[in-house]
């Protein structure tokens, strides 16, 4: 019951106020900069650019922690794999594990890239209404229509997913309870034990998809062709400034990557 979708936290900060397209592009540039940063330290410094955004967005520090907690193990594994598997100058050895200078640097770099990208994506989700996000994505992909990219359909799929996740979660919970009432335990790792949950959920999802397709058709939907949108998006000066900063970040890391900085 009462499933709250996503991590969108409504607010009135200047980050909330930015055009979703600016934020999407910003995220893209930020990710590019993280990839271009050539060392652990530059990647960390590049990544730190998200910190003022978090402050401006009025998000609590605990916000970052909550996003990362489920991924902690994954991050630790990435770090140690890089540290352990990179050959080079040995600076320490713990048992059979040899830590190299290069390994440590790669480890930090990989960690910084994944860590900050997740944080930035969470900030985007937290400060942008999912609908606006889908709208923004549609507009950004619109030029692709000429090359056969179904941008309207993609955006619609995204909104439909947003619309139906809570409904299907509620349904999953109800079906699970119904099977528990029939003595199911859902214990053990065998897929077989999950069938009483998975099959009804699939059937229901298909039935819903069918009903939905029919309902959309009945409301004169015929694909993206001829479809207009109620919501309009406008770039404001703040959006240009934000994008300029993001581009500068890419330029900075590119500068280092090309070897001018070291």
């Amino acid at each position: 019951m009462m499933v709250e979708l996503g991590q969108y936290i409504p607010g009135t900060s200047c980050i909330h106020y930015l055009d979703p397209r600016a934020k999407l592009l910003g995220l893209f540039f930020y990710g590019l900069a993280l990839l271009l940063a050539p060392t652990g330290i530059t990647a960390s410094l590049t990544g730190a650019a998200i910190l003022p955004v978090i402050v401006l967005a009025g998000l609590a520090p605990s916000f970052i922690w909550r996003q990362l907690k489920p991924l902690l193990v994954f991050l630790v594994i990435i770090f140690f794999l890089q540290v352990a598997l990179t050959p080079g100058e040995i600076i320490a050895a713990i048992g059979p594990l040899r830590i190299t200078r290069e390994g440590l640097d790669y480890g930090i770099m990989a960690l910084a890239r994944v860590f900050f990208l997740i944080v930035a994506a969470s900030v985007l989700m937290a400060t942008t209404d999912p609908l606006a996000l889908a709208d923004g994505l549609e507009r950004l992909l619109r030029p692709g229509q000429r090359f056969g990219l179904p941008s309207v359909e993609l955006a619609l799929m995204l909104t439909l997913a947003l619309r139906f996740v809570p409904t299907l979660l509620e349904e999953a919970e109800r079906i699970m309870r119904a099977q528990v009432a029939r003595g199911a335990t859902f214990r053990g790792s065998q897929v077989k034990n999950l069938m009483p949950l998975i099959i009804p959920l699939f059937i229901s999802a298909f039935r819903r998809a069918e009903g939905l397709a029919e309902a959309m058709e009945a409301r004169a939907y015929r694909g993206g062709k001829g479809r207009t949108r109620m919501r309009e998006l406008h770039f404001k000066p703040a959006d240009y400034i934000f994008l300029l900063l993001a581009v500068l970040l890419v330029a900075g890391t590119a500068y280092y990557r090309l070897g001018f900085g070291s």
């Binding site: 809570p166 409904t167 009945a218 004169a220 109620m230």
Partner: protein, 276 residues
């Protein structure tokens, strides 16, 4: 006017027709109820009216437009709005107002016009206060009123309700039905109510009873609901008020046979009692 002319319909891979040789005319502004047991073809008939299904034999014309003509389908669907049974399967957007906008957007209206229609439709179903709410946080009755708003925003001429109240509680059902009837009065919409609640069908001007793909009874509810045998054949029973009326008439009480609702019965009995 919607004209259903000699329509027979088979679902792919079946040998029994879902509908057989149905002819029917629906006038603008009319209130028609269609009843029958599950599998009688009610929902199939509904889907033929707006071109979701095309007849195998015969024709369906909506204000002269043939549903078999693909070029007319958008206009047909604008004219014939449809509210389905399951509230959760027909709401497509993540907020109330975006959902209402879906139809007008598909019609290709400019953003300002879409906004205006959305506002008017939400006003009409009294959901304007909840326009930014996600649909899954609405009650059943509210969800169906939202679905209704989505249809109204396309400014239809005919409104088809395909068991739109079947999943609601009695309060939700009354809430939706009252709204539909008010809209009919205000906007002159034709209402085609598909239901297996006899109490609801009794409110219509004309009712049809379908069984095994054929129309077995048709006429004003006051007449149709007297036909116990025909109703029983379709697994249906007259509403309690009609049954009571019949029983009282048999006991010699002089009640007109046209009484089908609680209010009509109360009024008639009161008149009888005070007439003495």
């Amino acid at each position: 006017m919607i004209e259903v002319q000699g329509v027979t319909f088979f679902y792919p891979g079946t040998r029994e027709p879902a509908l057989e040789n149905i002819s029917l005319t629906i006038r603008p502004g009319e209130f028609l109820a269609i009843t029958g047991p599950n599998g009688s073809g009610k929902s199939t008939l509904a889907r033929l009216l707006n071109g979701l299904l095309r007849p195998g034999k015969g024709r369906v014309l909506v204000d002269g437009l043939d549903t078999a003509d693909a070029a007319s389908l958008v206009e047909i669907r604008r004219r014939v709005g449809m509210v389905f049974q399951d509230p959760d399967n027909q709401l497509v957007a993540a907020t109330v107002e975006d959902d209402v906008a879906f139809g007008p957007e598909n019609l290709g209206l400019p953003p300002a016009a879409v906004r205006q229609r959305v506002a008017a439709a939400l006003e009409a179903v009294e959901l304007a206060d909840l326009k930014t709410r996600p649909p899954h946080r609405l009650s059943g009755g509210q969800k169906q009123r939202l679905a209704l708003a989505g249809v109204l925003a396309m400014e239809p001429v005919y409104l088809v309700l395909d068991e739109a109240t079947a999943m609601l509680d009695p309060v939700g059902r009354e809430e939706v039905l009252k709204k539909v009837l008010a809209l009919r009065r205000e906007k002159g919409l034709a209402v085609i109510l598909i239901t297996h609640f006899m109490e609801e069908a009794a409110l219509a001007e004309r009712m049809l009873v379908l069984n095994e793909g054929r129309i077995i009874l048709s006429g004003p509810p006051a007449d149709v609901l007297q036909q116990e045998e025909g109703l029983a054949k379709a697994g249906l029973k007259a509403p309690a008020i009609v049954a009571l009326g019949k029983s009282l008439r048999q006991a010699g009480v002089k009640l007109p046979a046209s009484i089908v609702t609680v209010e009509e019965m109360a009024r008639a009995l009161w008149k009888l009692a005070s007439g003495k």
